[in-house]
Symmetry: C2
Subunit: 444 residues, 2 copies
Amino acid sequence: MDSSTKTSRPRLVVLGSGWGAMSFIKSLPANISEMYEVVVVSPRNYFLYTPLLPAVATGTMEERSIVEPVRNFIIGKEGGRGRRLLCSCSRACPLRRCCFPAAAAAATAAAAAAVATAAAAAVGSVNNTFGIRGVDQYCFYFKSIEDAGRLRARVSECFERAALPATPEEERKKLLTFVVVGGGPTGVEVAAELYDMIECDLSKLYPNIVSIQIVELMDHVLSTYDRAISIYTAEQFKRAGIKLVLNSRVAAVEDGCVRVVNKANEVTEIKFGACVWATGIAMNPLIRQLQEKLPGQSHFRSVLTDECLRVKGSDGSIWALGDAATIDQPKVSGWVANQQGKYLAKVFSSTKITGNPEGGGLRVRVRARARARGGWYFHKGSAAYVGSDKAVFDLPRLGPLTGTGAGFVWKSYETMSQFSFRNQCLVAADWLRTKIFGRDISRV
Amino acid sequence: MDSSTKTSRPRLVVLGSGWGAMSFIKSLPANISEMYEVVVVSPRNYFLYTPLLPAVATGTMEERSIVEPVRNFIIGKEGGRGRRLLCSCSRACPLRRCCFPAAAAAATAAAAAAVATAAAAAVGSVNNTFGIRGVDQYCFYFKSIEDAGRLRARVSECFERAALPATPEEERKKLLTFVVVGGGPTGVEVAAELYDMIECDLSKLYPNIVSIQIVELMDHVLSTYDRAISIYTAEQFKRAGIKLVLNSRVAAVEDGCVRVVNKANEVTEIKFGACVWATGIAMNPLIRQLQEKLPGQSHFRSVLTDECLRVKGSDGSIWALGDAATIDQPKVSGWVANQQGKYLAKVFSSTKITGNPEGGGLRVRVRARARARGGWYFHKGSAAYVGSDKAVFDLPRLGPLTGTGAGFVWKSYETMSQFSFRNQCLVAADWLRTKIFGRDISRV
């Protein structure tokens, strides 16, 4: 790092540009650069509003409507002195309070080392194949904007191929079978959006022998939700012709074919045009490295933190949030990345963190906040879109909420949840465009 | 081709999905499927509104706003019997009235052969490197939606790299130098859009040491336009800081460096972050194959046709339009693909083409149309956007028109020229979005 960046302020390094990191940065006060030199390290230069990713995969929503440049979050907070690195962090040495980010796929950019006084790790999780053969090769993951774009292109390709007069009937059937592995909110929403697209836009243009199937390990989808919601969703999917393959696990994936095993150990083969892997998250390699270097860290998916989000064994210099963190107290385990980010911003703006262990003040404050809070579950994954303008909500006090009314609430909520007025407008315009003109089927 | 497509109607094969092909298909009457079995053969399933491609490369316009699915053009014209093939035509045997389309990059789709009674070749041209070393490897072409997307991603990458604190000053300067080869309408508009993006959206976020340079063989840009327009554009670019490297040809392109030779044979090296090749079109390989099989064909870039657009030597069974065609009479040489498509649609809908040579009736009709027509030049390339909301028009009767007023006319014209109401709305919304919120700098 060149000399111009040397300052007397402590350096605060933020790893990642997802929910936790962005909500943290957005909540920092405008004068934060007087207290810290803030450095954001991420391989992406934008924040992605993940809940609407299934809508992007079918063209209900456009890619650019749900991404937000990281630089927009730090405008006005730099004071001309703050800096941002575009790097992917490839190695972290927490005990030396130092990380070496190497420029992402950069042949020309020199590697830069950022010596951190304090670091906030918010790098999220990565996909987990559970070691199942063929998943990495033949399935579509569903975490990034590129994943959504790839799926959209593949679905379009399947329909085009199926429309060729030379395509035999069996091949046509295979091409128009879409398998989603995982009956959680992501899997359910991908299936619902696919159904919407086919029903509204494709059935009038292409041969309509489409089959959408969800493979789920449990005996019902949305298993973390209220049971009434699972039942409602199953009924809704039955009406829509979406097939639920329950009590089944994936044994292997081959080119155009997934092998599914049910509880009775019977093997079924499902031939597909596209298979979406919407299940399983694993520890980010960066967090694994961090874990290996710290004492007392043993969790299988994230680093342990205290209730102030400070990583255990890091001597108060590293804070973790979102999927990267597991809080060592059951009662606050549901804190979502978004709220953690806001909380952490309060901590950093009210107290000058110098890297030394802090006293009990923070602890007291966070405990009070945790008690005062009730509806966190509403924010994280307890709403899902189930197709045909219907949605389901699992609200902790009001109970389950389903149907077209819930669908309208869901769309409004997702629109208003965008971080900027710009994206709120774009998302609203996209719903409107899809309603009026339908989805674009161009294979761009 | 399977038996279900065998009909008694003559088969009309349309090659391509660009300006000529789409304007032809759009102008066909709704009952065309009673007369012909229409088959569209193209590697793309969408039409691209090319004049707004420079705007897409900078994010002024979104990709999906200027593409139109081919299927939308043929809805209502199929009568349930018309068919469309998604194929790229890899070999054409005109004398046998037969072409063998092979599915584009298709391992699974079987190759299909379409026996044509009549064929309309509207496949456009391809890029021409003039044999200059390194162009294919290091330059960005500018013909397809993928080209625009790649350029957008590269420009974003250049700015991100330049913003890294570890990037040395010289490298930063190189990264932020953008070279456009070719001072025609495309080159001018790419430079203008780049300037707009940097001026409006990037200069407040990134180090602003940007240089945009246009390399042009002639002594002025827009050399096919009225001289007053060239001078106006040069002045406008001077104010904007866009450098014109005139009287110069490109000798070679290397990784990050273009070698330019002026009239005095002096060699200059320009280091760049991105270099756009906006000059030179070459004959489509398909048209070359067609040419080789027909007698009396010798033009270096397209097939010769008579004034009815019938390919010479094809016995009246093949018609060519757009860049694929050169009409063997100077006075109609300016017909644009769009108007050719409309004309050809009239021919096909009013006369049953059976593949036999036609009499003089068509000839008379087309001559009358050619005489009656005046303003064709307005449609093809005689308007250009020059940045800062300004545009230039070269109108055959009114003379040159320049400035902000012309810019407004240009934007209105491009908006209304979209083939569908949907895209008119999307393009208008994109202008508005860019004005209000600026361009998205996310490196999606």
